[in-house]
Amino acid sequence: MEQIKQYIISSTRLRKMKDELRNKKGSDLYFKKTYIFGDADLLSSETKTPNKPVAPALPGTLTKLKLRGYADLEYKNAKILFEAYQNLTPEDASDERFWAYLTHTTFWDYMKKRTNLGSVSEEKKGDYILTHWFLDPLSPKTIARNDIARLWWSAYLTHDEKLKDPYMLTRQLFSMQDYSRTLIEGVQGRNRNVLHGVLSFVIDNPELFKQRKEAKVRFVMRKINQIGGYRLLSSVSKKEVKNTLKKLEKEITSVK
């Protein structure tokens, strides 16, 4: 495996970048061809590196109207990124310096096209950049909002080698934005059995979720949170989570 040096942004430089953006300065740099770093700004990381350069598909045909295409694209990018960084540990994947390096260098062009910063008002540009290019402060919420970290983490949390298609649950996760907000950002979704149980249940019951899927998934998540308040769902299997949801079928059917 060819080891390519992986860099991260230094804490000092990262802090200065964020301070400027909070003070509504520096957003013009995000329209340049490259983001300029000094020699002292980048450090060699201890993280294992990918064995080939990551080349995610650029959203060439991405428009707001093509919702279905958008979902597929994110899922495909997540798969590429996860496989390229398959040796990344959760501890390293929680390092803002690493993700900020990727958003400002490797995926610079992707980020500019993906985020359409030009359409954001001048007043809000700083906050917008902080949300999409950084992880500040570190939390499941900011991970879900960073446009590169989200891809890797979504694949990491849903990938299952035991499945015929190991990314089946990943594809389902990207099919709806609500999953990010309710599962990835929530306490219950931190547990693999719960996360996989919920996603599998939706996949296994296509007729149940054919209509009003968003409302029904939100309902399922509310019930999971409620049940999780008196039942240690992290102690039961994925199958048992699905069985729990199966008992709620009638209620789910009647969700408007």
Binding site: T12, R15, E91, S94, V187, R231, L232, S235
Partner: protein, 283 residues
């Protein structure tokens, strides 16, 4: 993890609960570079639940959760002493441990001994995973050897800016105190002078700490809990010197002065010495 009191279908054994008896857990954590070892000793005084544990229908449970690595896993055992090993790479910074008694099988017609007689003629059917006892929540730190920022361990770092006012950036780690450019050199000279150290703290560190305390005693505390400076401040406020004080916005001036060892009084003393020195010189 929070137990939802309104959703509990039956009473559970807990310090303020309706089930007679006691359930407590002592948790010891040993954090090493590659692994985190958690040892929990459980004490249970409730015969009904003890019998269920012997019958292997109920178990002791530890729920470990770390939001910074989106990690959550539960471990169960029928032994009142549990030892768990978790790879350190799965955790980072603040990690939470919750201790339970949990049904590991469905249980029919469950009843216990209650403090209030309203439950006396009731029994409950339990599903696997239902919580039967809760002894509390603890947190521990899994620190990583991240690259340290410029001023190791200090609350504040100083920088200059082109504005007229002094600004405080709490979203930074350490906290950034931004001083008007024209004052920056003077501030440095004051800071370097041992006789004026208290004056420096009064002018810059004390107001900054007042602002910090007003934020962490207010509604926006959650925004800073991840910060190293927050954790250091939390440790200080948990020490014996501060634990006795009411930790709220009204007490912020007192707390801030205690943290910096009464800089206002000390700076008056320092200034007095300078004035005396100047008077003697002019004589």
């Amino acid at each position: 993890m929070k137990i939802d009191n309104f959703s509990l279908p039956h009473p559970i054994l807990r310090p303020d609960g309706n089930v007679k008896g006691n359930f407590s857990t002592h948790v010891k954590v040993n954090v090493k570079k590659n692994e985190v070892r958690i040892v929990a000793d459980m004490i249970l005084t409730n015969d009904v639940l003890k019998n269920f544990i012997e019958e292997k229908k109920v178990a002791f449970g530890l729920d470990i959760s770390c939001k910074y690595t989106i990690y959550r896993e539960s471990f169960t055992s029928f032994d009142k002493k549990m030892e768990i090993l978790i790879p350190a790479a799965k955790l980072r910074d603040t990690t939470e441990v919750n201790c339970f008694l949990v049904a590991v099988k469905d249980i029919q017609n469950y009843k216990n001994e209650y403090r209030e007689d309203i439950y006396d003629n009731r029994d409950f059917n339990l599903s696997k995973g239902e919580i039967l006892g809760y002894s509390g929540r603890d947190t521990f730190e899994v620190p990583k050897e991240w690259e340290m920022p410029e001023v190791g361990g200090a609350f504040f770092v100083l920088d200059k800016h082109s504005g007229k006012e002094v600004k405080y950036e709490l979203g930074s780690d350490p906290i950034l105190i931004k001083i008007p450019k024209k004052d920056f050199q003077v501030m440095h000279d004051i800071k370097k002078n041992e006789r004026m150290k208290a004056v420096f703290y009064t002018l810059y560190a004390y107001p900054a700490m007042l602002y910090v305390l007003s934020e962490i005693f207010g509604e926006r505390k959650d925004m800073y809990e991840h910060r190293k400076w927050y954790k250091r401040l939390h440790e200080i406020l948990s020490s014996s010197q501060f634990r006795q004080l009411s930790q709220n916005q009204e007490e912020s001036p007192k707390i801030a002065q205690m943290i910096f060892q009464y800089p206002l009084t000390n700076s008056i003393n320092d200034i007095e010495k300078v004035i005396i020195g100047l008077s003697e010189f002019s004589e």
